[in-house]
């Protein structure tokens, strides 16, 4: 069986303007849309995500209302899997059950209740949503602390030790443990659905960690690109490095287009997809450039235009077949997986298709353009030199 007949000679470079322009336009469009449309998941934006499953039919709208009623109006509720699974993903952007206004209210109440102990301050522990720090001038007995908390209406945890004594070196300091956000959501759902609801997964990422992960993710993708381009520089010709790099950026941006179009969550797994696409894409282009190197050695005197065209044609069958087998391998996940692994597979397939396309239509033309530009500069320099010599 053959997909590409032997001896195929398609003039890919001749149509380079059309393909390169179309690619550039698409890449630019996606780049513009990334900040507007990419939906950062809790991994990068911070926040809480809860996956629940119901043992009876529940409508998204009803669930959304329930979550809003529990005090999370801004939460997003998505159905996952097929409709009869009754599984949902609830995402709350905030980290704590308390808003700033709540905190202000509690602060006033504590100042009033604990005035005889010299109230100093009440503040959020910035890295986590379920701890409140209290400072006073004089030590406060535990019973008094609990009384004040009740009077203020603080949603303390139901577990033991809702207040911790952190007094050190004679400086009174206490910490209240308030109800965790996921606890509050599941409590509200249990009140409504009883035994029919099951909390299957909870993810919480603090805002600081989110920022850290995001920066490291960007760094990782850039680092991989730089490393690979350096390898191409070292193993091949300087002229091939720009083609590889442009192809890489093209493939990574097109892959990101998956999240732009679908609005699905961009998370840690997405970074893994991008890095794999980087690896795959270069893999593909290296094979083409390896053939360019070989053709050039075989047929001395052939123009670069023809050399690249020959190499792309000779490797065309392999480029397509490898892309195909990799896509085929992932098809099972498109059918059977859901949630983040579905996104993983779908985006990966898009990335592989982009990589296959750019190996044929983008990398070669760029190498040619770079080569012509270098030659033009070279001739100009020579002309310039000869002119100066004449003068």
């Amino acid at each position: 069986m053959e997909i590409i007949k032997p001896g195929t000679t398609i003039d890919f470079l001749g149509k380079r303007r059309t393909f390169v322009t179309a690619s550039f336009a698409l890449v630019l469009l996606i780049l513009v849309l990334i900040p507007l449309r990419v939906n950062l998941g809790v991994d990068f934006a911070g926040g809480t995500e809860i996956e629940v499953k119901f043992h009876r039919a529940v409508e998204v709208e009803k669930l959304r209302g329930q979550v809003a009623e529990a005090g999370f109006g801004g939460a997003s509720v998505q159905q996952i899997g097929s409709a009869d699974e009754n599984a949902f993903l609830i995402r709350v952007g905030q980290v704590s059950v308390l808003s700033d206004e709540d905190l202000e209210r509690y602060r006033e109440a504590f100042a009033r209740e604990l005035s005889s102990y010299g109230f100093v301050g009440l503040s959020f522990n910035p890295s986590t949503g379920d701890l409140l720090d209290l400072r006073t001038e004089r030590e406060v007995p535990e019973a008094e602390l609990l009384r004040a908390a009740r009077a203020a209406g603080l949603p303390l945890t139901q577990r033991d030790e809702p207040v911790r004594n952190l007094t050190r070196a004679g400086q009174p300091a206490y910490q209240f443990v308030i109800q965790g956000l996921s606890d509050k959501v599941s409590e509200a759902l249990q009140a409504e659905f009883g035994q029919d609801v099951e909390v299957r997964r909870v993810e919480f990422v603090g805002p600081q960690v989110g920022k850290q992960l995001r920066n490291r993710g960007i760094m990782a993708v850039l680092l991989a690109m730089v490393g690979i381009v350096l390898y191409v520089l070292f193993r091949f010709d300087v002229r091939f490095a720009p083609g590889t790099l442009v192809g890489l950026v093209h493939d990574v941006v097109i892959t990101t287009g998956y999240w732009v179009v679908t609005g699905r969550e961009f998370n840690l797994t997405s970074i893994a997809v991008l890095l794999t696409v980087v690896g795959y894409s270069v893999n593909d282009k290296v094979v083409v450039f390896d053939r360019v190197r070989e053709v050039a050695a075989r047929r001395k005197g052939m123009s670069l235009y023809d050399t690249i065209n020959t190499a792309v044609n000779e490797t065309l069958s392999r480029t397509i077949v490898t892309g195909l087998t990799t896509v085929i391998a992932l098809l099972g996940f498109l059918v059977f997986a859901r949630g983040s692994i579905f996104d993983f597979s779908a985006a990966m397939i898009l990335g592989i298709l982009a990589g296959t396309y750019s190996s044929i239509f983008v990398a070669g033309p760029i190498a040619l353009v770079v080569d012509r530009w270098v030659q033009k500069r070279e001739t100009e320099r020579k002309v310039h030199e000869s002119k100066t010599a004449q003068a």
């Binding site: 990422v205 991989a224 490393g227 059918v335």
Partner: protein, 581 residues
């Protein structure tokens, strides 16, 4: 030729056998019913004695459990320490009769400012303080800051303290195969497989460590233990020269035996016995009982510092010990306590676990005590001293911890993901093999055999290092197989080209392999670069994916290039005249 040829086949067969050997524990593990898998004894009983011990484990996303990253508030610990140092300086100036105008923590909270009534006192304080507090430096205007080197050590030790506290607590719950490790400069990663109550975990791990000093109850212990006549298997008796105790490797069992057996006014506690062999390597954990008085004599918040020091002169010169300092009130209580109980033992209890029970040698009036260690071996004594300092500081100078990251997977989700993940993987694999055979005919069959071997090698490698299998790991496995086929695609395409160029079957195969090699090599190296970056960056499931990808690429050099070539040569030697691609 013949001999070398059989040698090659022998190598391939040997690799397959070794791979199967390493897969045995993983196979045994997954053939156990799910509820018995994490039972160490059941697993070891089912495992043949000749098999390796390491096996693949299911990641938290596939078996359910809690993943937490706790952040240690190191800055707060540093500020607390500065405040305490100011207290110590005031107390010391008082004692030395130096009249200070003020010794206060600077508003920036990173230094202590001192000012004295007379320049004479100020100078006296400076000279004395510089030699007394070697970990501080004096800046202009009598501002005292911690030396950066000490500060760095202190920050590190604040994280170590928190790590130790968390490890002890997890140890006590009996969670199977927990992961507790430092992450970054101030984070602690805690993974509890099978533990599905995150709120409970967060609360227990976030609690401040409680340090207590309690007197031992020797006579009561001897009497109470003599009354326990029937010991279950695994619990043995011992005597430490002061009191009798029970000992067992199973903490829960020990607690059960002792339940309700403590005489009035006393309570049984558990301590960990460090068992070391002749060269000082720590053995498996063993627990022993201590009978202590119910009354808490002193708590950790009265302690201002604990550090390792080395004896300067005398008989024990050069021996490490632990120096502890109490605050004013603590010093008073400690003086009375030690005065009334010379010759008895005072147990150091952190979070209800006894660390040690040193003997009170004499009355300690000034709040500066020394704890000498029983071990004669210098390195061991130093290790014990460091550990004791961590325990004391955990109770005295706790660095608050908070939750940076939490991921919990319920018990029911995991099996469902394993099912759908493996179904998807098998479908992907079957489709790839079907395509390869349809497209490349006999070369497709050869490539598929290599592909299956590649899969086997990946699984064996993961199993032999005890890797964790995650859902992205499964997807990565399949993706890797899809990409590993690339080498065979390159070779097969090359063989087709050579055949078209008019070469015979044998020559076409030889040239196909030779010419495809540079492309295979270069393309695999670039993918490896991406995989290694991912390995550096990734955590948890993503890391599992990167590991699979790297192993798969390396394995494909062997399977797709070497093994298929051996098979092809074998087929040609068997008299196959044509090459079918």
């Amino acid at each position: 030729m013949e001999g070398r040829f059989f040698g090659r086949i022998g190598l391939v067969v040997a690799v397959v056998l070794v791979a199967i050997y390493f897969l045995v524990p993983t196979f045994v593990y997954f053939s156990l019913p799910p509820d018995q898998r994490n039972d160490k004894e059941a697993f070891e009983a089912a495992l043949p004695s000749w098999a390796p011990k390491k096996r693949m484990t299911l990641g938290l996303d596939l078996q359910g459990g809690v993943h937490l990253v706790m952040g240690v508030d190191v800055d707060k610990a540093v500020r607390d320490r500065i405040e305490r140092r100011a207290d110590e300086m005031r107390a010391w100036a008082d004692r030395e009769g130096l009249a200070y105008a003020s010794i206060e923590v600077d508003p920036s909270r990173d230094s202590v400012r001192t000012s004295f009534a007379s320049e004479q006192d100020a100078a006296a304080f400076r000279t004395a303080a510089e030699s007394y507090w070697g970990d501080m430096r004096r800046l202009a205007g009598d501002r005292w800051v911690f030396d950066p080197v000490f500060l760095e050590q202190f920050r590190e030790s604040a994280v170590d303290q928190a790590l130790r506290t968390i490890r002890d607590r997890v140890d006590r719950w009996g969670v199977t195969e927990p992961t507790i490790a430092k992450r970054g400069s101030d984070g602690i990663l805690v993974q509890l497989p099978g533990f599905t109550d995150p709120e409970r975990a967060k609360e227990l791990l976030g609690k401040t460590a409680q340090l207590e000093f309690r007197l031992t109850a020797e006579d009561e212990a001897n009497e109470a233990l003599s009354r326990i006549t029937d010991l279950p298997e695994g619990v043995t008796r011992g005597h430490d020269g002061y009191q009798a105790y029970l000992q067992s490797a199973d903490r829960k069992l020990l607690e059960k035996v002792l339940e309700g057996k403590a005489p009035e006014g006393t309570r049984f506690f558990i301590g960990r016995v460090e068992q070391r062999d002749a060269i000082g390597v720590a053995g498996p954990a063993v627990y022993r009982s201590y009978l202590l008085r119910s009354k808490v004599e002193l708590t950790g918040d009265k302690l201002t510092d604990a550090r390792v020091a080395v004896e300067q002169g005398g008989l024990g010169a050069g021996r490490p010990y632990v120096a502890i300092t109490f605050d004013k009130e603590g010093a008073r209580i400690f003086s009375e306590l030690t005065g009334a109980n010379v010759g008895r033992r005072l147990a150091i209890v952190l979070d209800d676990t006894v660390n040690s029970a040193p003997v009170i040698n004499s009355k300690i009036p000034d709040g500066n005590a020394q704890i000498t260690l029983g071990t004669a071996n210098y390195n061991q004594a130093l290790e014990e001293a460091n550990d004791l300092v961590l325990v004391l500081r955990s109770g005295a100078l706790p660095a608050p911890v908070s939750i940076f990251e939490e991921r919990t997977v319920g018990a029911s989700l995991g099996p469902e993901l394993v099912r759908s993940g493996s179904t998807a993987a098998i479908i992907g694999l079957v489709l790839v093999i079907a395509f390869m055979i349809a497209y490349y005919r006999r070369q497709g069959v050869v490539a598929s055999a290599a592909l299956l071997l590649n899969g086997l090698l990946i699984l064996a490698a993961l199993s032999s290092v005890g890797a964790t299998l995650t859902l992205p790991g499964i997807a990565g496995f399949v993706l890797t197989l899809g990409m590993a086929v690339d080498a065979n695609v390159l070779i097969s395409e090359r063989i087709r080209e050579e055949l078209r160029a008019g070469r015979t079957g044998k020559a076409a195969i030889r040239e196909g392999y030779r010419r495809a090699f540079t492309a295979i090599f270069d393309s695999n190296v670039t993918t490896l670069i991406a995989a290694f970056v991912l390995l550096q960056y990734g955590t948890g499931p993503v890391r599992g994916f990167a590991v699979t990808l790297s192993i798969g690429i390396i394995a494909s050099f062997f399977t797709a290039v070497y093994v298929t070539r051996v098979i092809n040569e074998f087929l040609l030697a068997r008299g196959a005249q044509t090459v079918s691609v």
